[in-house]
Subunit: 225 residues, 2 copies
């Protein structure tokens, strides 16, 4: 099922999009402001984002930039502004399409189809099983040797970022930025703490981790092999 995240602060537009998208068989989640949109993009892992630029809390270009910091999900911008400069800014910030309000629902849906057609080949859920652990990213569930393990929100968030980048070294700064957001880039004590928690809960031998490996001076790496 294709998952679409719709971000808009106008309830009637949100409602119209939700109904139309659901009728076409999309799974729809919504957000009404920038922060919850970023949050939802992380937890829901949508296949496509429809983003209204006139959000109450964050500037539209900033939302795009912060999304683009870690995901390449297609972004379709909705906006009431027809000014050419706004379009250029949004597209250059990383948006894939720009639709001005009022828009025809048929056209918007056709644009979404075109976008998904191009983006939508791979969609492999990243490896979610390693050792005795199996992780269901969609359901927010972790099983170790068949037993369910409870993770706190922060632990989960950190695990998610690592799992979505298998084999890849994630720098301290990058992880702190992804999980704690801007302003915590130097709180490395935090990162050590939660990495230790994760290892205690998921690794067979937390003192000698096999999957969540430390790269001294650089960061951490999730190695599923």
């Amino acid at each position: 099922m294709t998952r679409v995240l719709v971000v808009d602060d106008e309830p009637q537009i949100l409602r119209a999009l939700r109904i139309n998208l659901a009728a076409r068989g999309y799974e729809v989640t919504t957000a009404a402001d920038g922060e919850s949109a970023l949050q939802a993009a992380r937890t829901e892992a949508p296949d496509l984002v429809v983003l209204d630029l006139g959000l109450p809390d964050l500037d539209g270009a900033e939302v795009i930039a912060r999304l683009r910091g870690w995901t390449t999900v297609p972004i379709v911008v909705l906006s009431g502004r027809t000014d050419s400069a706004d379009k250029v800014d949004a597209l250059d910030a990383g948006a894939d399409d720009y639709v001005t309000k009022p828009f025809g629902m048929d056209e918007l849906l056709a644009r979404l189809r075109a976008m998904l057609r191009r983006a939508g080949e791979p969609e492999e859920e990243p490896a979610v099983a390693f050792g005795d652990v199996s992780v269901d990213l969609a359901a927010t569930r972790v099983l170790v040797r068949g037993e369910e393990v409870r993770l706190t929100p922060t632990e989960w968030h950190l695990l998610e970022v690592l799992l979505r980048n298998p084999g890849r070294l994630m720098g301290h700064r990058q992880l702190l930025l992804e999980v704690w957001g801007p302003g915590y880039e130097t709180a490395q004590g935090n990162l050590r703490l939660y990495m230790a928690q994760l290892r205690r809960k998921l690794e067979a031998d937390p003192a000698r981790p096999a999957y969540f490996r430390t790269e001294p001076g650089m960061g951490y790496r999730f190695d599923p092999s």
Copy 2:
């Protein structure tokens, strides 16, 4: 160089696009009707197609369909028709974007950039390979004969600088400046030490290096051949 095929039967639009695209560093080829457009798409292998729908010989949707029969090159449609049904038809036929005339040149160029950005993605930063070694710069990972080799931050940094300048002589001062930063330009003992570490970890015969060569009195050179 990025190659753009522009298809339009109006000479002034053709001319305007050619000038603007060429000014941005694109390589432009043009066609004035559907048949020659299809021909040009085959012979020129463009990275992007800008297609006017009002062609004299073929229907726009048919041009798209015949292109899509064998290529996935991004197609941006230009059209004077604002009818929603036309947009839906073109997009569902396989177009990636639809811009109505009159259009702002800035906006069109931004849309082309967005399109190329996405299309160009799959060519992810490749793993540099030489001898038995393969280096994945994005994942920060080094394999020698299939075995993972751990590098310290400084070793990695030095390797990165060398790999990003293949075949080029890197002076002592330049390397020290890049890796250690200002203030260490004269610490050549350092450089010798870490170059030795790199060779020990990556070269088949560290005493007779094949890839990380010394240029006496000058510096070092990474030679991938």
